[in-house]
């Protein structure tokens, strides 16, 4: 694992938590959307917080798929679940929500799970899918 790869995993964690928080904040400003007026969900993206939240979730998707290109799914998912902890911290200090003792236990369990999985290798030998052949790898525009 290189520093760049840890940075990508950090991006997965950070962008998911920020994206969800911004969406939550924006949707509270937009208000309840009832089923008969479902089309107002389309205009909800015009709210700057919702728009910013969607942008962060796009960054999350890019980092997530990048991480999956060099690490196992069973490594990426627990390793990036610190986002749930970050979300709880944001909820406590930005959205002023209460964190119950049960939630603190949950945070401890997630942190322990992250600790367990990051001790091991990111990619196991069996999971290496057949890569493109050398001829396929030489794509047009490839820098030689």
């Amino acid at each position: 694992m290189t520093f760049r790869k840890y940075l990508v995993l950090g991006g997965v964690t950070l962008f998911a938590a920020l994206g969800d928080s911004l969406l939550s904040h924006g949707m509270k400003e937009v208000g309840c959307i009832s089923l008969p007026h479902w089309s107002s969900i389309l205009t909800a993206v015009l709210n700057p917080w919702v728009g910013l939240g969607i942008a962060f979730l796009l960054f999350f998707f890019v980092s997530y798929t990048t991480a999956l290109s060099w690490a196992d799914l069973t490594y990426v998912l627990p390793a990036s679940s610190l986002g749930y902890v970050l979300l709880a911290v944001i909820a406590r200090f930005w959205l002023h929500e209460q964190i119950t003792p049960m939630r603190w236990i949950g945070i401890l369990l997630i942190s322990a799970g992250v600790g367990f999985v990051t001790q091991g290798p990111a990619l196991t030998a069996d999971s290496r899918a057949p890569r493109f052949k050398e001829s396929e790898a030489a794509l047009p525009g490839t820098r030689q």
Binding site: Y64, T66, L73, I105, T124, S127
Partner: protein, 126 residues
């Protein structure tokens, strides 16, 4: 009856999300290390290679199905049930599916991590 709808929708969320994650992971393993590819070629070529992988597109579609199933589940039941139930079960289902479909070596360390995170998410959203 409402109970059955709720758990049916939760099962759909778990199935679709797990299928989406597995397909995306499969697609990205076929594409190869994006960082290395980017060094060798331009970003547009890497993006084209990803978007031309059928399992990637299918994975995105399954994730969309999972998202809409979540919206349906939320219209029938409280977020305090739907959120933790679907997230925790997806973690465990992903570990099993990754072992079976992607042939990842899910050892006791990864099982423990998946179960700890699943339990943690359930408590966090409780």
């Amino acid at each position: 009856m409402k109970h059955a709808y709720t758990w049916g929708a939760i099962a759909m969320v778990v199935l679709a999300s797990t299928a989406g994650d597995i397909l995306l992971a499969h697609a990205m393993k076929r594409v190869g290390d994006v960082g290395e590819l980017w060094r060798q070629t331009c970003l547009w070529t890497v993006a084209t290679r990803i978007l031309r992988t059928p399992s990637f597109l299918l994975g995105v579609l399954m994730m969309a199905v999972g998202f809409y199933s979540l919206l349906f589940a939320l219209s029938w039941a409280d977020v305090s049930l739907v959120g933790p139930a679907s997230a925790s079960l997806t973690f465990v289902a992903n570990a099993a599916a990754a072992k079976f479909f992607l042939h990842e070596r899910v050892d006791h360390r990864r099982w423990t991590a998946a179960l700890f995170v699943a339990a943690g998410v359930a408590l966090l959203a409780a």
